[in-house]
């Protein structure tokens, strides 16, 4: 199993209503020097989270004790930029299992799905409702239901259906990854390789 199974997640939310949050902010390049996948959560949003002298920046949401939870809500075009999977690792390692946004960058979305973080894309209106609910009451919980593909603001009952490709959904529900699948069709792959045009 590549990561913990994901079925239904009920959690409070950490709000980060900034557009175009790029992967260089999620994990700056200087923290990509590890040769093992561990400890990335410590450097999640490093330069927004800490001053150069390593003291926490009080106005950054991860340093605000009022907000916590396993769901990160970000602005439009979340995860743009680099292909570094370290960004998804950092999100997972910090303790988030789900990122909600009105729009995700492609590679980041893929990386999340491959490492067990569920990217939930909602309408801009619904995202606004989430931010409003969380700012009104930081104890607001969301329920992310993967089998039903719904996301609900529990205090108001407002909900939306989100899309996920059926294959990826099964993977997330079972904690499988693509390599498990591909390992089983190696003979087909070898046959195919012999027939390539060049």
């Amino acid at each position: 199993m590549a990561y913990d199974k994901f079925e239904i997640l009920k959690s409070t939310v950490v709000p980060l209503p900034i557009e175009n949050v790029d992967t260089d902010q999620i994990i700056p390049a200087r923290f990509l020097k590890a040769t093992e996948r561990k400890g990335f959560g410590d450097n999640l949003f490093r330069d927004w989270r800490y001053n150069p002298d390593n003291t926490p920046k009080e106005d950054f949401v991860l340093n605000n004790p009022v907000y916590s939870g396993k769901i990160l809500a970000g602005g439009k075009n979340f995860g743009s930029g680099s292909s570094r999977e370290h960004a998804a690792w950092a999100v997972y390692d910090y303790g988030f299992r789900c990122v909600v946004s009105s729009f995700f960058a492609d590679i980041f979305r893929n990386n999340c799905l491959n490492v067990g973080v569920l990217p939930v894309q909602v309408s801009a209106d619904f995202l606004d409702k989430i931010f409003k609910a969380v700012y009104d009451d930081p104890k607001t919980e969301l329920e992310v239901n993967l089998p039903n593909q719904t996301i609900t603001i529990l205090s108001t009952g407002e909900n939306e259906v989100f899309e996920i490709n059926g294959y990826k959904k099964q993977n997330m529900l079972n904690g499988f990854d693509d390599i498990d699948y591909l390992q089983n069709i190696k003979e087909d792959i070898a046959d195919f390789a012999k027939k390539l045009p060049v």
């Binding site: 260089d24 902010q25 020097k33 040769t35 075009n77 491959n114 390599i179 390992q183």
Partner: protein, 464 residues
């Protein structure tokens, strides 16, 4: 049925189609480097599986490498460790490795094409988003995550839903001082950094047909900066002439066979795209970015837009200008410049150094700027010397560093200090991209050269 160039290449590589799932796509060429591969190799080891086709994978060291004194041991222990891991892993699995000091070493997206490894009709991936560069040859090339690197090493396939298709047409003649970098920054400024998310882009029209291979690589390289999975340009005589006789190019009968196939790789005249944009090449000026994403760019003679003119979040826009120390409505011309960086997988090719040299020839470096000129590979470095460009550059007071990713992403020692302004030919102006607190303005090698000799942001058209 009429199909696009993208369909032709994609469909030829689908091993299996999964209902309501991704396609299993066969990968012809896999490039790896020291940063995104170690955890993938660790994964192979943990699962007890081998590399399926080691001969289809090519390794080079680039992100972490120093750009001076490359003959000495790498000082940063973490960088040294990653470089060592790449050497060890490639040895163990029988993968070719152009490490530090190797005559072919350089940036992954520079060395692939210049050695003829990148060819039309191929599927190419690498754990680096700027893999889109290779699309310049009519290949489907895109960046992947480390889990996918492990996937390709172990099965030579990845699982991808087929992206939608976009065509961007630009016709007309580019004006004086307008380079492929400006074309790309112009497109991104029009489409925004998410405007092509979910799409694979084909660039068409005479601006691209008349472009050199280096220029096409620059444009395709930046496709990712508008969110696209990749960009591609149909192969033509320019492409074939570039590839012929390079070390990994097919030879003799194989060449003829390949050429016949490559000539079929074009979009049918009545093929339909999911989205299409058309721009006028004569409208494009030398470009400059003023904010903290590559979409925040404009013609160099314009003023920074007002927040109200910008679609989307005003607070995000203001945050971005605050980071840069700029305000709405002010001009960029004449702004102070502390650093100039020419290099990276976007603009570290020979044509870029020719452009830089053409402006600095007969002029002198401005005293207030630090200038880092970093070739994309040892081969580019040799070309700079052979063509006499090094003499011009040296005469003007500049020096040449050794190849690598350098100040593009500051994983090595080349970092722009906090608060300093850099005109950079690289691909990203994100907060802290070139070092914590660094302020980046993306531009072409001509704009970089103009800043390097005047010390301020200058329209290169006034110097050529």
């Amino acid at each position: 049925m009429s199909t696009t160039l993208f369909d032709k290449v994609w469909d030829a590589h689908v091993v299996r189609n999964i209902a309501d799932g991704p396609d299993v796509l066969f990968i012809d060429r896999h490039f790896i480097h020291e940063v995104t591969s170690p955890v993938a190799f660790l994964g192979l080891k943990n699962r007890g599986i081998k590399v399926l086709y080691p001969e289809r994978t090519f390794a080079t060291a680039d992100h972490n490498t120093p750009t001076i004194n490359q003959h000495l041991p790498v000082e940063d222990p973490l960088s040294a460790n990653q470089l060592k891991a790449l050497e060890h892993n490639t040895n163990e699995y029988g993968i070719s490795h152009w490490g530090l000091g190797h005559e072919k070493n350089g940036i992954v997206h520079v060395v692939g094409p210049e050695n003829g490894i990148t060819q039309p009709g191929m599927t190419i991936v690498c754990g680096d988003s700027h893999t889109s560069t290779h699309g310049a040859f009519g290949a489907i090339a895109f960046g992947i995550g480390t889990s996918e690197v492990e996937m390709v090493l172990s099965t030579q396939c990845i699982m991808q839903p087929k992206p939608r298709k976009m065509r961007i047409n630009i016709n007309g003649t580019l004006g004086k001082g307008v380079t492929p970098k400006d074309v790309a920054l112009y497109i991104i400024s029009r489409l925004t950094t998410s405007g092509a998310t979910g799409y694979f882009v084909e660039y068409a029209g005479d601006v691209f047909e008349n472009m050199s291979m280096e220029g096409r690589m620059t444009v395709c390289n930046l496709s990712i900066e508008m969110g696209a999975r990749g960009g591609m340009i149909a192969p033509d005589e320019t492409t074939f002439n570039y590839i012929k006789n390079r070390p990994y190019a097919p030879e003799g009968e194989k060449w003829e066979e390949a050429l016949a196939y490559w000539k079929t790789l074009k979009t049918d005249s009545d093929a339909v795209f999911d989205k299409e944009y058309t721009f006028d090449g004569t409208e494009i000026e030398p470009m400059i970015t003023y904010g903290t994403n590559p979409g925040m760019g404009m013609g160099i003679t314009k003023n920074i837009p007002q927040a109200d003119e910008i679609e989307g979040g005003k607070s995000t826009y203001i945050k971005s200008l605050n980071y840069m120390g700029y305000t709405e409505g002010e001009p960029m011309l004449g702004k102070k410049v502390d650093y100039v960086f020419v290099g990276s997988c976007t603009n570290g090719r020979i044509e870029d150094f020719r452009a830089f040299a053409s402006v600095v020839k007969g002029r002198k470096k401005a005293d207030n700027v630090n200038v880092w000129l970093v070739p994309g590979s040892h081969i580019v470095e040799s070309q700079i010397k052979e063509e006499g460009l090094l003499d011009i550059i040296t005469e003007a007071g500049f020096s040449l560093r050794q190849p690598g990713c350098s100040a593009c992403l500051a994983m090595n020692d080349d970092k722009i200090p906090a608060g300093k302004y850099a005109v950079s030919t690289s691909n990203r102006n994100f907060e802290g991209r070139q070092g914590p607190g660094a302020r980046t303005m993306l531009a072409s090698p001509l704009v970089a050269a103009a800043a390097a000799v005047t010390g301020v942001l200058t329209d290169p058209r006034t110097l050529i």
